[in-house]
Amino acid sequence: MLRISGAEAFVKALKREEVDTVFGLPGGAILPICDALYDSDIRFILARHEQGAAHMADGYARASGRVGVCLATSGPGATNLVTGIATANIDSSPVVAFTGQVPIPMIGTDAFQEVDIIGVSASVTKYNIQVRRAADIPWAVKAAFYLASTGRKGAVLVDIPKDVQVSVEDMEFPEKVSFRGYRVQEEPDPRELDWASVLLSRAKRPMILAGGGVISSNASRELVALAEALMAPVATTLMGKGAVPKDHPLYVGGCGMHGTGEANTLLAEADVLLVVGARLSDRTTGLVKDFSPNAKVIHVDIDRSEIDKNVETVTRVVGDARLALVGILDRLRRIRLESSGDSEWVRRINELRELYVMPEAKGNPHMRAPEVIKALRRSLPRDAIVTTEVGQCQMWASLYFDSYAPRTFLTSGGLGTMGWGFPAAIGAKAARRDVPVVDIAGDGSFAMTENNLATSVEEELPVIVVILNNRMLGMVAQWQRLFYGRRYFGVELGKAPDFVKLAEAYGAVGARPESLEELEREVRRAIEVDQTTVIDVPIDPEENVFPMVPPGKGLKEFIMGA
């Protein structure tokens, strides 16, 4: 037993969770904890806005698979975290947020910088805890990491009143915590695996849809093995990108609103669809009744509430994605499956892939976004990490940036949070100093969190930002062009700022390449000099992202052009 302050216990508890980095921004109500951190070797990365700190923790978590930690003061500090917490939580990214709070006797009095962050964050966290006694801090920290990183991962917030941080008490550090109402079913039920295997073995046109759960449970290898055993094409959701290497012959790309023609078409033709670790959101399914209408759907998920939520399934497997895939593979081997996907089905995959090769630009004076992204790909090593902002830039990245490994394509899928990509890239860099990290950005999104250039430069976490600069809130403009008769409203960003000068103002490198070759040179140079670099690439303000499934339509109704 140790007699120490709540703040000291807090730092000790973080160390026990092997935390090496905390992202945050201090303030009055978290000062005792900051003072205790002063004496520790935990690296503190100072963000310039708490939203950035939360996104950094999220990027750190997604790149490394470890829990990301952020910290803020009470009131506005805590509310500034909310977008970041919500973004992490909906994408099942393990993030723990710590907030200071006014002293317990003042709670409920509308004291200075008091916000009921427990109430505010309730809907956007997996769980939250307000610590009421210093002696509970070790438990609360342990509980937060346990909940964030097990089962369906997510965001947990721990609110610590200032007096609790100061109070000195006898501390006990639990090895384990448990909640009576929290059970994680990792090991799937053998009967569910039997059913799934039988269905798959009888399929003529099997297909696999892989979501973020495959990445989260490190199941890529097993997924590929199963696809090969079945000769089943694999599509990914936006969150699943990277689960299968782009150059695998059975990979058909992303599906959904901006999925590839082949993925969306094959989904409509499959007779058995194995969904692994995906929650089948509207952006993935399109009109639900036309989502894989001919398939018997098997859904594997660690979160049973996702099964049958949006798409009706024939059978389910509740459990960890990797264990489920191993179980199915074992069974298929036992029944000596001779790859159920027949040769006609395999032919069909290739036929569609050729059919939907994207048309090349014709006589466009601007650099086209897809070409920019392909050039970027050429200038990066295979294992480089890419984060994205949100909008057209994100969909172009999803369509044209080839990813080869899990945890190398990071994007805000569920929330589509503009401004996520840049701080997330900084967080990813903090976790992975060994690889280049690039944010594929839109000018609108980057403007939302560009102040983190200061963090990237000052903390020596060099990342590359490639701005597809259309001087538009491009995706919104695309919708206004396609569905609102070109009546542009609130989408024209004008010329400001000059991103090259902006980068320079922060002590970063700024560049504005005029050709794809120059772009590639800039990227290579940025990697070599290892400095934060903003590459501003002017593109056509009115370029559309295709393919696109119009909202409310089935996946097969994608359009390839306007």
């Binding site: 809907s123 909640f179 929290y182």
Partner: protein
């Protein structure tokens, strides 16, 4: 799609914020609560909640799954309507200064096996327990007498025989 009234009963951690989280879940996901009742168990760290909802079977499944997913919810069950007894209690204050009205009130309270909890020159407070429909019916019967105010507890329920939550 059949949207009948269903009863979901569940065990929760008996601590601050849990009721908020449960109702917040219903609000957020657009599930409509018809009634809710809560009380502690013999283990003071636990409470049992009973919620009645009007939903089709798909939504009902989601309600059960989403509740089950909550860290502070320990066990959830949709009670089988045929094998469940469900009761609700009402306290009702009737305007009874008129002797005829008083007569009528007493008659009705009696025929619904109610209890009289308070009585003065102007009013009577009665307690009636029964199934929701019966309480509705009782209210309709006494409304011509003059209802000053009433308060209902919401449904509480147990499954019969060997069935347990």
């Amino acid at each position: 799609m059949h949207r009948s009234l269903s009863i979901v009963s569940f065990l929760v951690e008996n601590k601050p914020g849990v009721l908020f989280n449960v109702t917040n879940l219903f609000r957020r996901r657009g599930f409509n609560i018809e009634s809710i009742s809560v009380g502690p168990l013999d283990d003071p760290e636990l409470a049992r909640m009973t919620i009645t909802v009007r939903a089709d079977s798909r939504v009902l499944n989601q309600i059960v799954e989403q509740l089950d997913k909550m860290v502070d919810v320990i066990k959830v069950k949709r009670l089988d309507p045929i094998r469940t007894v469900a009761r609700e209690m009402i306290l009702v204050k009737l305007q009874t200064s008129d002797p005829m009205a008083r007569e009528e009130a007493l008659k009705n309270i009696n025929s619904y096996h109610g209890l009289i909890l308070d009585i003065d020159a102007e009013s009577i407070i009665a307690e009636v327990t029964g199934e929701t429909e019966m309480i509705d019916e009782f209210l309709k019967k006494v409304s011509p007498i003059g209802i000053l105010e009433f308060s209902r507890t919401g449904v509480t329920a147990l499954e019969k025989g060997r069935l347990r939550l």
